[in-house]
């Protein structure tokens, strides 16, 4: 890609990434949440790969790394769900066992922010892995 695109990407990528994290963290206050924030973060990485070309990153290692991150993120999601069964004392699957706090504040909705973060990581890693798999397939086919 031309130098202009590279320069602009360098500036924007950080901002997009930060915006994605903001959306995940404030999932229970403002619109958005795990799915939207995760997708935005994946968009930031895809933009980076598109503008700087695939040989810049060692793609293969990236792909296994991101698929590993994805499976561990969804495992965290499941563990929180099952934790509700054990810690909640009442033994009910997916119960919101942390204190609820006041409605408008940042730390307020019990387990929901944890779910948001877990799902956000999972969606980001998932979309990135799909995109990387396509790119690696294209390179190997061209070789």
């Amino acid at each position: 890609m031309t130098i202009i695109v590279k320069k602009v990407t360098q500036i924007i990528c950080g901002v997009i990434f930060l915006y994605g994290i903001y959306i995940i963290i404030h999932g229970h206050l403002t619109p958005g949440g795990g799915f939207a924030g995760g997708a935005i973060i994946a968009g930031a990485f895809i933009l980076l790969i598109l503008s700087f070309g695939s040989e810049f990153l060692a793609l293969k290692k990236e792909e296994t790394g991101s698929s590993l991150l994805e499976s561990s993120a969804i495992l965290v999601f499941l563990v929180i769900a099952v934790l509700g069964m054990i810690v909640g004392g009442v033994g009910i699957f997916l119960v919101n066992f942390l204190p609820k706090g006041t409605v408008g504040k940042l730390i307020s909705a019990g387990v929901i922010p944890l779910y948001n973060i877990a799902v956000g990581m999972e969606v980001a890693a998932a979309l990135l892995t799909i995109f990387l798999a396509l790119l690696i397939y294209r390179d190997e086919v061209l070789k």
């Binding site: 590993l68 499976s71 009910i92 699957f93 119960v95």
Partner: protein, 514 residues
């Protein structure tokens, strides 16, 4: 006891995620862990079968009824769902055990076991959930896992079969989602028991019939019934054998037939014309499936067509029960025909799974699927021959085996309900099945001498232990299941499943409490 129902979904899910992570470092972890997980689930469902009275209801997230309206998602475990759970986990365990040595011929073993666990988790989720949209989510999970598993060995025809299967499966899932939208529009609630309550109160309108038609076509495609069976022969013949035994043994039942039963018995009132449509589709699939199967020479394609016709038996049995209930004939005949249908569902899962495993064993050793070039394997592969003999006899309904008893019950019920044409058709189809399976036995195992197999450079010998074990276990099951006729055994396993369908009202009261 009630707190262990989510384990049926949480354990395979946790297993799948653990395999995905640990599998990269520890090579053999996937195969052992899957078999352990599924063995635990089979034992657990067997334990529940013997100790279950009535039905267990489990609200997720601990939300009570909000002025008598269920707001959370409920997992309902009654006679019918534990019956299906037993089938899913039993055949799942045997296929996973079988694929320990079968999958060594493929690369990316770890992904195979992850997708396998996810498919089982999806099916368990569908069978257990009492919420319409939740059924759609878990149905989609099992379906996507099976799309990827059908295309596991990256050959030409496997990719095409998977693409065709995925296009048709995707279209049918969207029909199902559209009908969920209609039902939500009409009743503005998603809980199955609540919807049946609202439909009963509001009276059936045009929309309910319209969404019934769409639901029937959507799930009809998942259950590979006649007008929608185009994907089944390709998908089942090109998938790896343990997967095609799971697909035609369990997937089309847990995702297709079970949901049709649950929705058309417990959600909508049993109306005359819908049951008539279901019975007609059942008879059509029964007859056309077997007629299509005669001309086949590829073992797995022949077995796939037979799955369509055997599923026709199941739908026929249940359809006659619905017809009798709709004309409120006496309940004994309806109970008998539904029992016949459900009994055949279990039998078909067992002997069709076994037949696909046999075909896989033959392909594993000789690498050929075309019956013309096979022959005389009986001297070289004794175990596979004996198990495939028992499976073929039970599918064509020869007395000591289970197939005979379930077909007998369906035919008797058809006669008692005075549908003589259907019973004659059932007998006629059973004879053709017998003929086509004699052909299979003669061509693959018995006619030519076996010694040219031994002279071949990789000498053809018996399949490894794990494959033999699953095949022998299923063959023994073919015989043991005919015990279900004995009343004492039947009351534990089959009768609660039939009651769950006959007394539909009892399902709603168990959830809503009124």
């Amino acid at each position: 006891m009630q707190y262990f129902i989510p384990l049926f979904v949480a354990v395979p899910l946790g297993g799948a995620f653990l395999i995905a992570i640990i599998g990269n470092f520890l090579k053999g972890f996937g195969k052992i862990f899957t078999s352990i997980v599924l063995a635990f689930l089979t034992g657990f469902s067997l334990y529940i079968v013997f100790t279950l009275q009535g039905s267990l209801v489990y609200g997720i997230g601990g939300w009570e009824l909000f002025d008598k309206i269920p707001i959370a998602i409920y997992m309902v475990l009654d006679g019918l769902s534990i019956y299906l759970l037993l089938i899913i986990n039993l055949i799942g365990f045997l296929s996973a055990f079988y694929s320990i040595s079968y999958i060594q011929k493929f690369t990316a073993e770890n992904n195979y076991y992850t997708l396998f666990c996810l498919m089982v988790a999806g099916m368990n989720g569908v069978v257990l959930s009492g919420d319409l949209f939740n059924i759609y989510v878990f149905l989609e999970m099992a379906a996507i896992a099976s799309y990827a598993l059908v295309a596991f060995g990256i050959e030409k025809e496997e990719l095409e079969a998977s693409f065709k299967y995925q296009v048709l499966g995707g279209v049918s899932s969207l029909f199902i989602l559209l009908s969920i939208g209609f039902l939500y529009w009409y009743t503005s609630t998603l809980n199955i028991a609540d919807i049946s309550k609202v439909i009963a109160k509001k009276g059936g309108s045009q929309l309910v019939v319209f969404s019934q038609v769409i639901l029937l076509s959507g799930f009809g495609l998942k259950a590979a019934m006649i007008p929608f069976h185009a994907w089944l022969p390709d998908a089942h013949s090109s998938a790896p054998s343990p997967i095609s035994s799971m697909l035609s043994g369990v997937l089309i039942k847990a995702i297709g037939a079970y949901v049709i039963l649950r929705l058309f018995f417990n959600m909508f009132e049993v109306s005359y014309n819908t049951s008539l449509v279901i019975t007609i589709i059942g008879t059509l699939s029964m007859v056309i499936g077997v007629l299509l199967a005669i001309g086949q020479w590829d073992i797995k394609r022949l077995l796939a067509y037979h799955s369509i016709s055997q599923m026709g038996y199941v739908i026929l049995g249940v359809g006659i029960g619905m017809l009798v209930l709709a004309q409120n004939g006496e309940r004994a005949v309806a109970a008998l025909s539904i029992a016949g249908g459900l009994f055949h569902l279990f039998n078909h899962a067992v002997f069709k799974g076994l037949l696909f495993l046999n075909a896989g064993a033959v392909e594993y050793e000789t690498g050929i699927r075309d019956m013309k070039r096979l022959g005389g394997l009986s001297s070289v592969m004794p175990v596979t021959t004996s198990t495939s003999l028992s499976a073929s006899m039970s599918i064509s309904g020869i007395p000591p085996f289970n197939g005979f008893f379930s077909k007998l019950i369906i035919i008797i019920a058809a006669i008692q309900a005075k549908y003589y044409v259907l019973s004659i058709l059932a007998v006629f189809v059973s004879i053709i099945t017998l003929a086509s399976f004699l052909k299979v036995q003669r061509f693959t195992f018995f006619n030519k001498k076996g010694e040219n197999w031994i002279k071949r450079e990789p000498p053809v010998r018996e399949v490894p232990f794990t494959m033999c074990f699953s095949m022998v276990f299923l063959a023994v099951l073919c015989l043991a299941l005919s015990m279900l006729i004995v009343p004492s055994v039947r009351d534990i396993v089959l009768t609660p499943a039939v009651d769950a369908l006959i007394e539909a009202g009892e399902y709603t009261t168990s959830i809503l409490g009124y």
